[in-house]
Symmetry: C2
Subunit: 348 residues, 2 copies
């Protein structure tokens, strides 16, 4: 692509707050019946009738959750929405509305925010949700995005984390570890670029895993699939922090134990080959990598016939009594206690 070096950028302070919000949101259309009033008043007004409402919120911070040296702003806008919708789907709910607030420093021109909002708009259109509000302000340093997602679900259809029962099957959608290995590749290429800015990275062998990192999809389709299959999970959670941590959340909140089978963990061939290249253990990557935004859930064994042949779903273990603990059963058939590597954002 040939860049126009003379392109004029618009400074954010050339627009006021109202001008900026209006400019960024004017192409967003309201489509949901439950949205009575979107952007433009003190608050949005919604009507869910007899439905229950789910609400979730996440912050994405530059330098902590994303690195703009390899994350295009359009992808970032898309991902910020996905991260939140994923939590709505993990309640077995339908995502209906989002609010998006951003704090941004003066180093970003208007055109950068337009890119960000183009990604948000793409997400909103594909996932059929309405943008109903938000706030735009300056920050002293980088970019921060705060999204709140709202969804609706019929009474009795909500799935919490705390309903898993002994003998239930542990099931995961898609495959794991891709987003984390994509990040490893991007970080490596960034280092190469620092040494030699003329070097063109060849990301072709890593297309799938890089996309898993830069443009994840929330599993709206899985919620629909489960409904079509007439399967109501007993517990569900989305995988943002790695399989191990999420399994432990379900087990702790459901007061149960679990056996997870190493040889059942779904891995894409590109994850396996990239792990070999980086000399990393693919099971460890799947257990602790995070950011896959797949759904992890438990179902009664009675539902096994309905899900067993489905290529989108993998049965990876069994729920046990609490006293049995939470274990990984390795390929060598040894049992290792699972542990959540937890969260390292506050590391020095």
């Amino acid at each position: 692509m040939i860049e126009d070096k003379n392109k004029q950028y618009t400074k954010l302070n050339d627009l006021g707050e109202f001008g900026l919000i209006e400019h960024l949101t004017k192409h967003f259309k309201i489509k949901r019946e439950s949205t009575i009033k979107g952007v433009g008043d003190d608050a949005a007004v919604l009507d869910f009738k007899e439905k229950k409402v789910v609400v979730t919120t996440d912050l994405l911070v530059e330098g902590v959750h994303f690195d703009l040296s390899y994350m295009p702003l359009k992808h970032l806008g898309y991902k910020a929405v996905m991260v939140n919708l994923s939590d709505v789907y993990a309640m077995n709910a339908k995502a209906t509305q989002i609010t998006v607030s951003i704090a941004v420093s003066n180093r970003f021109p208007l055109e950068a925010l337009e890119e960000l909002y183009a990604g948000i708009q793409t997400a909103v259109e594909i996932y059929d949700v309405d943008l109903i509000g938000g706030d735009t302000t300056s920050s002293t340093t980088g970019l921060l995005i705060s999204v709140t997602a709202i969804g609706e679900v019929a009474e009795g259809e909500v799935v919490y984390r705390n309903g898993a029962k002994p003998n239930d099957l542990l099931v995961v959608s898609g495959d794991l570890g891709g987003a984390y290995m994509g990040l490893q590749v991007l970080e490596r290429e960034k280092e190469v670029y620092k040494v030699n800015p003329n070097n063109q990275p060849d990301l072709e062998p890593y297309t799938y895993i890089v996309e898993r990192q830069l443009k994840p999809e929330a599993r709206k389709d899985i919620v629909k699939l489960l409904s079509d299959l007439d399967v109501k999970p007993t517990a569900m959670i989305d995988i943002s922090d790695g399989l191990s941590s999420e399994i432990m959340h379900i087990c702790k909140q459901s007061d149960v134990g679990c056996d997870l089978y190493e040889n059942k963990i779904p891995l894409d061939p590109q994850v396996i080959s990239t792990c070999e290249e980086f000399n990393m253990d693919s099971t460890t990557v799947a257990l602790n990598g995070g950011e896959d935004y797949e759904l992890l859930f438990t179902v009664s064994q009675d539902d096994f016939p309905k899900i067993k042949a489905n290529p989108n779903l993998s049965v990876i273990g069994f729920i046990k009594e609490k006293a049995a603990g939470t274990h990984l059963v390795t390929r060598a058939e040894t049992r290792i206690p699972l542990k959540a590597q937890g969260w390292k954002n506050f590391e020095d």
Copy 2:
């Protein structure tokens, strides 16, 4: 106050994300009937039955919206909630739930966040709302707070900005300009402190206006008062950016004009005396100061008998046809076009 210099502070990275959220929110109780599930799952679950739902969100950024050199963290937590509840009340709705997300740098110990959450908890208890979720993450620099507030309102009770009609009365709650003049005093004392840190500021003559800046209250009581008086405003907005800007929002969205009477603008004596001391014009301060979080609304003239004697409410003008424009009628009976000073966050 004698400070214990040997006090041990807890570093944030000594707790994980889950430990931190659990620690900060464990004293919050769920009280609202509409809250089915609060903190602790992928999303909160709410049930508003036949009610409409209002949603609003605001970001507060250190160095832009607050200065921790004179804003105590407990007050900041309280104010972050007020700023959002004010928007809910401006829809004539009842505030029911909030989410609070924070991004915070490592320079803050756990004890600082406990102070912040103590202020949030005070607000939540006084205003009878539930804390139902949020996110906690690190930031590369300062502190940022993102609050989303949710409220409920019966069908037909919602008040938008766009319903003002010619001949309606323009009414404001409380008094104006206090928060802005409080900020001037605090900024002056900060400069004095920089020159001589041993100087003890005497804030006693400024108690009211400093409190208006540091600990504003959202006008939940006015929504109840209007309901008790059986007055439904034709349009309503909260005053966050200054009277002038908010009047222009109502007029623009209602497609009407307005005469605002300078001599009717409610000012506290402390605002007047401090304006004299700072050699500032009190009308300009009331028009453009902002952060008062009073409610500005329009009512039909038929409702005048119900509100005229109320000490909480001041009739400050009349709605006119759009062609008449929006004007300030000065004490000297000259008519000056109103203008919104707008928003200066993105200034260099």
